[in-house]
Symmetry: C2
Subunit: 318 residues, 2 copies
């Protein structure tokens, strides 16, 4: 089969379409003929050598895809069934082996390409804000990077859950995108200290920055507030004042989807399909594809996402 | 009424029994004639000026007591009813005003003095390990300061919940006490690095140290592990490596009971009576009073607790 391969570990853009072996199925996996694969920030990190696949996963880049079941393996699935897939890796390829627990139906009314663009964001946002934080009506949620792939999804989900949504973004244009999706409090992080605006008000914060924002995030939390860190774009190490946690009973949690066990991923996938898929089908949550490129143009897709100018999703089509 | 007063803010042992006003009841409070008051580490901190009472609370020291209802105020309680009380302050006195939600029955078979010795530990341990962490059968729980008032209670509760219990303490004698209470893994922190012994194994850690142990605590946690910090005896500020949190989905939470709202305290008290009081009544959890002193000897009681030589509880009798 054809797949994207990193030719030179020193050059994160050396992504070439090469001939390689079709994956062999393990027990409980199906072989999916890939139609489209979503591009994620984790893919950029992996190309830079910073986000290695978990043990046993494909070393081909790609955390989500859609396609058609080519070989059901030992599962009871049907050849030709259309599926969306959460992947530990392997999406940038003609074929990928997927544990059955990570297969999702195509949301009603979605094309295969559209389906490939929502899996990772939906599972990440729901597992953190729905399953973990349990966001509820009347709460205030702060979403950093509101205009990104995770952010745009998170804004809409939180509005559906009845929360007040605050966002940070780096331009008036991006903040306008957030406002259109329902965000209530718009903060340009280049001009304002978000913790000044939100001091003591946030029940939940979904953070992609890490170290650089820790102090301000803690300052922004209300009593029983939860800081959930899913990205470390602003570094990993910093000072923490534990004295700030106790009186308000604050919690700091870090998560990644990719490192979860098979059972953990299956649980996230099932819960996401149950709770989020209906919101996609009736467009309570909308998606936005910024650009669709052929699989061979993976390097160009990474350039585009890295530019920071993207609002919405980039998808590679096989 | 008579109550303990800190005469000199510069001297934490200037605790004198003085004449002062009997507390006035607010709506929903009862007046309790105190029989006995438990001595807690928070009391020592308050005498040093480090743990001020929350707004609206008595500035008299004392976080738990037992006694008899003298005036039911606007509640439907009965004069003469024996109660144990969780307090935001005011226990070192002849009378204390207590919100009705913080009244508990005397555990079956307990004397009033014994009841005064278990309230704070029971509510602290249950609210953190039961309500918050949800400790379950088969999990491994690390309890720092296993031989202290919180530690001895936590060991027994965790064993009742079916957990494997690891403890740290500073002497072979204290570790033997922990072992007798059911602790499975005994670590002398003066001789061993607990994180070497427990690396990646703990589902829950109940910590009273804070900054000094943060790195080792995170190292000791298993996937989805929860670090719950309830004391800061080892300082408040330190470096945190957030990169350690994400792949294992670790959480760090700080809590205090005292800063909770009235509704929050009432919730903790009701849940503790429901889940823990039966374990006290049939002695699945036992208590140990190290010493009983008259109220006038509060300074001596603080000396004793500060000495670090105490295993079990110190109680002041009025």
């Amino acid at each position: 089969m054809k797949a994207i391969q990193l030719n030179n570990p020193e050059d994160p853009r050396s992504l070439a379409l090469v001939e390689t072996d079709t994956p062999k199925l393990r027990d409980g996996e199906v072989l999916v003929k890939v139609h489209a694969a979503g591009v994620n920030r984790g893919d950029l990190l992996q190309a830079r050598g910073h986000y290695p696949p978990p043990p046993g996963a494909s070393d081909i880049i790609g955390l989500e895809c859609s396609g058609v079941i080519e070989d059901p393996g030992t599962t009871g699935r049907t050849i030709g069934e259309e599926v969306a897939c959460l992947l530990a890796g392997g999406g940038y390829a003609e074929y990928v082996a997927v544990p059955e627990g990570q297969l999702m139906p195509i949301p009603e009314g979605y094309s295969l390409t559209e389906a490939a663009s929502v899996v990772e964001a939906a599972c990440t946002v729901w597992s953190n804000l729905g399953m973990l934080a349990g966001v509820q009506e009347g709460q205030t949620v702060l979403i950093h990077g509101g205009a990104g792939g995770i952010g745009t999804f998170a804004i809409q989900l939180c509005k559906q859950l009845g929360a007040t949504v605050a966002v940070t973004a780096g331009s008036a244009e991006k903040l306008e995108t957030c406002r259109e999706l329902g965000a209530d409090i718009l903060i340009n992080y280049r001009e304002q200290d978000f913790s000044e605006e939100l001091k003591g008000r946030c029940d939940v914060i979904l953070d992609i920055i890490g170290a650089k924002y820790l102090r301000q995030n803690l300052r922004s939390l209300a009593a029983d507030g939860q800081l959930i860190i899913i990205g470390l774009q602003g570094g990993v190490k910093t000072e923490i004042n534990l004295g700030a946690l106790l009186p308000r009973r604050l919690s700091v949690r870090g998560t990644t989807l990719r490192a979860r066990s098979l059972a953990g991923k299956a649980e996230v996938v099932a819960s996401t399909v149950e709770h989020v898929w209906p919101m996609l089908s009736d467009a309570r949550i909308t998606h936005h594809i910024h650009a669709t490129l052929p699989l061979a143009d993976a390097a160009k897709a990474h350039d585009l996402l890295d530019s920071g100018a993207v609002t919405g999703k980039i998808v590679l089509e096989v």
